[in-house]
Symmetry: C2
Subunit: 418 residues, 2 copies
């Protein structure tokens, strides 16, 4: 078979299996996930041996130490994978929930029932734990999943998938509901992205170039986010100590992630009182500040911010800082340069807090809290499959419910339309 034929067969089998998956009871799905967790731990030795092949190939290819570390599996990481499956088993099952049931004037009862999407395709890079994590979330929400991992992790991914499929076989659940594209030619991804009749949604997980590649080549809807240019606005009534604490957390706790803070906006009425001490504190923490002219009046040690800085996702210890006339100017700046990710106001003014929440339409809008809370776990979704900064279907961190849709259900007793 050609690669195109193999991928089409995998997708067709996954579609067929998705019908059975959608019908599984929560009890059976949870039993499957718990047994998968056990099986991963029991299979540690095999997994580590297969992972060693990837590590050896990676060294030969000259992968960086950081990439080799992301690729590496040891008993601790395998336990982490297993625990993640147990966590998903513990989450509520969104499938079958009925909402908005009501009686229409003609007596039919109309409601909406939550159902799986069908088949979800995941395209990801080097971390092999995604194989187990993403599969668990798709299966728990009643979907079949087609996984296509990076070539660096192919042996590890195959080994993980084989262990999980072994459990499915044991429980008489069609193994095709968890399919891994078993080869790493780029043509495999391209063929996968063409199966719009068989795959309902593609979620790319990885760097911006992977995501752009998927978006440009997919005929299937893609849920994605490119970057996070997150803002914090220090309002005229902000508590300075609180503002500084939140900025430090948002900027320095984990600077390399998408919900880290990138741009600070300061109300002009507090610029003189806030900036000097703040700039010193951040300087002591090795954060490089880049300010506009007004900001640098009070912090001359800051570098000069240019137009590019307002659009920058630094992902390192750099913070762009600007003094604004008022909240309107802050919101205009966010509308112009933001990426719809996470925006914070620090304020003690009730009306401004409410207005900021209403008028800033990013995926997460926060009052007096760190941008770092824009995360599925922190917001209470349980494990997350990804984050969306496009507004269709899902906006923000995506949990189990985001892997489902709703159908209309109608209970009648013979009604016809007049």
């Amino acid at each position: 078979m050609t690669i195109a034929e193999q991928v089409a067969t995998i997708a067709k089998n996954a579609r067929q299996a998705s019908i059975a998956l959608a019908r599984l009871s929560t009890t059976v799905k949870n039993e499957m996930l718990l047994k998968m967790a056990e099986a991963l731990e029991a299979g540690s030795a095999t997994l580590i041996a297969d992972n060693a092949k990837d590590l050896a190939a990676g060294k030969e290819k000259g992968l960086s130490d950081a990439m080799l570390d992301r690729l590496m599996l040891d008993t601790k990481r395998i336990k982490g994978m297993a625990d993640a499956l147990r966590e998903v088993a513990g989450l509520p099952d969104p499938v079958g929930e009925v909402t908005k049931m009501s009686k229409r004037p003609n007596g039919i009862m109309v409601g909406k029932m939550r159902i799986p999407l069908g088949v979800i395709g995941i395209v990801y890079e080097s971390r092999p734990n995604v194989t187990a994590d993403a599969a668990a979330l798709c299966l728990k929400s009643g979907n079949a999943v087609v996984l296509r991992g990076g070539s660096e992790a192919i042996h590890s991914n195959r080994a993980i998938a084989a262990i999980l499929q072994g459990v499915m076989k044991e429980l008489n659940i069609p193994e095709a509901a968890l399919s891994l594209i078993p080869f790493t030619e780029r043509e495999g991804v391209l063929e996968m992205l063409k199966q719009e009749e068989l795959i309902d949604l593609i979620i790319p997980r990885g760097g911006e170039s992977l995501i752009r590649f998927v978006v440009e080549n997919s005929r299937i809807p893609v849920i994605k986010h490119y970057k996070g240019v997150c803002h914090l606005f220090v309002d005229a009534t902000a508590d300075f100590e609180m503002a500084t604490r939140i900025i430090i957390n948002a900027k320095t706790q984990r600077p390399g992630v998408c919900n880290a803070l990138e741009t600070l906006l300061i109300h002009k009425d507090v610029a003189a009182a806030f900036i000097p001490a703040f700039a010193k504190t951040l300087g002591d923490l090795q954060v490089e500040l880049r300010g506009d002219e007004e900001f640098r009046k009070y912090a001359p040690q800051a570098k000069v911010a240019t137009e590019e800085d307002w659009a920058a996702e630094y992902l390192e210890l750099i913070l762009a800082c600007k003094v604004v006339d008022d909240m309107d100017a802050a919101i205009d700046h966010i509308n112009q340069y933001g990426s719809l990710h996470s925006e914070v106001i620090v304020t003690s003014n009730y009306a401004n807090a409410q207005r900021f929440i209403r008028e800033v339409n990013s995926s997460c809008v926060l009052v007096n809290a760190s941008t770092r809370f824009n995360d599925g776990g922190q917001l209470g979704l349980g494990a997350e499959i990804g984050i969306s900064t496009t507004k269709l279907h899902s906006f923000g961190p995506m949990g189990l419910e985001d892997l489902t849709t709703t159908k209309f259900i109608v209970y009648g007793d013979g009604q016809v339309r007049s």
Copy 2:
């Protein structure tokens, strides 16, 4: 300016206006819609004069009488448009609703707030009332709208848009929030479908070829449906009188629409008892039946159904009929040939009703009621902007809520992530 530049400018202005639109209160939006209704009625003479230009051009181009009729505006149809705006004014405003507000362990309050999508593009064909209907739904849900109607209706569409924009101007609402692409070159649509940074969603309204053209050329997400191959399953315990009544309604009340019935599946245990009288009744109503071998045993007057009949959306008085072994076979048939639109079971068996509702994942699944109820008005959504048979974002008839999304909102008092 080139066409590309003009379209880009329209989209950019609509994006800018969408910020103001998202902030309008329900009161102002309703006032706008009610005034628009008045203005349409007051402007009847102008509308009819401009419509006459389209009718004359249409006659010259040799449009069919049916197409000319769809294009035609008279005082009655203008009143219908105005009443549709009044109906939208009366619908609840989905924007601002907060759901799932709860306190996380660290004390932050997390919820989801419903917000407009932003800018919605509508690509449609000859009926000019879509200009007013679609605009009203987009504006009521806080979105800006970019309309691109068919060339046959260009004078009518421009006249309607001008009247509606006049009301917006009077109320100090940015007119760019209701933009009409004012020329009819195909390049205009193609350019519109490229504005993925400025337009959030495209909804095509029209025939299958229009929809396919939009899907193939759009970089913006498209919500669509191609066709409705709707099924009705007569279970072994069906009330024959009820089944026949529902089939007649679903097949004959309006055969040309997507929620009309196309395929009938009959449980073998009742084939002998049900088919002969049923076939006679439908024959008397001029419905052509096409049956499989088993069906034709009891209705030899039926034509022979071929493989193509199972996938056909006839949109006329033809019904494909098949005898199946049991409900599993019926569901398998629906999974194989269905279009995820509307499926009915007629039964008096409780367990079968519940199983059919659970296991058939079409956009609307009904027990003992006509497929014709799969319609926004009938299901209680109020006016509908379209219907989706793809599962992402919306599945089934789409009302105001489907033109919105949700963002996460967080109220903290200084929390940072540890």
